[in-house]
Symmetry: C2
Subunit: 272 residues, 2 copies
């Protein structure tokens, strides 16, 4: 059984493994009233990634916690949207890095306001100087080990909306808080899950939707040339709270902005 | 200014960046009464690594917190040793990964009992199946991003004392909680700092001590052959709480055990 902890009245125990080692996961869900954007996919990802880490949590337990969170916070938000954050840790204690048998996971539940909407005409981005390394055992997992993203995000200054991180091989992998999608003459392109630090919910949904509509989507390593050549017809940043955000300028280079994708993938049409 | 939080009466705030992103550092110091093993080096490492992460803390602030911790806990421990743990986070809040300007770091201070002493005749170790990836920007930093070590330590079962992790290039890098030192026919050998997830205090002290005594110590990548060939005269695990621990069996292969190193590097001779 998991312990529910409401962030507006308590916090994780002092010996929780979340703060000690980043031993856990989180989900950030865009809410509108009592509904959430791709809510069931967020819950499913947390259950599935918890399983990869050996943290025992059920779909039912998370559903029950989310239902309580909605009771608690949805009416405060009024017509405004809000953000529900779930932080699941392996629990408190253990002997150093080694967890004890049968630990009870802790679920910290919090709410926050929506971030500002990015401008519809596109945002500015640049390349990050912070390399992104991905452990193959942990690829794609939205774990609490996010120091690389923090170090990159420290260099986000106006007017930059995002910084794009590369792996040691020099491939573009993802933004600090977004996945990448490129529209090119030959179809759509995105880095493969095995290279990703975080395999986003919005990324997965968008790839499925594009394919349903008959588009070719390649999942392969992305080079700088893929976004800065004339073959690039658009670069999009995907995030389940912000939706699909076109980039109009990357590292001083103007990019074409095609608003079409935002209309087929708007988060508020994905409420459930 | 840092906020001191005593783990026996409070915990980090719910929105602390330690649990949210592993955005911080820790030190684990072996204490005997009011003295600590290589205490000043631990404090210096935390100040220096905090600086690398852009977390503002001074030597003076940490010294004052440690002095208070000693007042609080040293007499409880009686003649037994104890362990002092300092967890420094960037603070609470910020906008997603991006920290706010001028955040006040939080320092969580806790005490624990000593772990059991490893047997003097050596311990059993094996190779970990969990790869170790090191971001070059964060190499050596004892940050709160330790999920790889947790995943490896989950596979530590009796009679194993340690699992040795390799990087994607196949070089042996470190144990889950120890650095590696090899005695060979040609002198001493240890992986270089740039390859390390954690550059241990005991590792640095031991290398300096060996060199003072006229030994040759090479810092270079370590292959499996370096420890499983006849040239290997001993494999040692270094940890500032446990000291120097010889390995008598690695993955089923008996290794020679030379107790000499433990006598020149015993932690209790390094109290200050």
């Amino acid at each position: 059984m998991i312990n529910r902890i409401w962030a507006d009245e308590a916090s994780l125990p002092a010996n929780d493994r979340g703060a000690a080692y980043g031993d856990g996961l989180f989900e950030t869900i865009r809410m509108a009233g009592r509904k959430g954007v791709l809510l069931s996919r967020h819950i499913e990802r947390m259950v599935s990634d918890a399983h990869r880490l050996g943290i025992s949590v059920s779909r039912h337990e998370l559903d029950a916690a989310v239902a309580q969170a909605i009771e608690r916070w949805s009416s405060d938000a009024g017509d405004q949207g809000w953000v529900l954050k779930l932080t699941l840790t392996r629990g408190a204690g253990g002997r150093g890095y080694r967890p004890s048998a049968g630990m009870a996971p802790n679920l910290l539940i919090s709410s926050a306001g929506l971030p500002p909407e990015p401008p519809a005409g596109g945002v500015d981005a640049d390349f990050s100087r912070v390399p992104l390394t991905v452990n193959p055992l942990l690829s794609g997992i939205k774990s609490l080990n996010r120091l690389e993203q923090v170090m990159a995000a420290r260099e986000l200054h106006e007017p930059l909306f995002e910084l794009i991180m590369s792996n040691p091989e020099g491939h573009l992998v993802e933004g600090t808080r977004t996945n990448l999608l490129i529209k090119s003459r030959d179809g759509w392109l995105t880095p493969p899950v095995r290279d990703l630090a975080v395999a986003g919910i919005m990324r997965q949904w968008t790839l499925e939707r594009l394919r349903e509509l008959g588009n070719v989507v390649q999942e392969r390593s992305v080079e700088v040339g893929d976004v800065l050549s004339e073959a690039c017809e658009g670069l999009f940043l995907l995030n389940s709270v912000l939706g699909v955000v076109p980039v109009c300028n990357l590292a001083g280079h103007d990019l074409p902005v095609d608003p079409g994708l935002a209309t087929i993938c708007h988060p508020l049409e994905l409420l459930e």
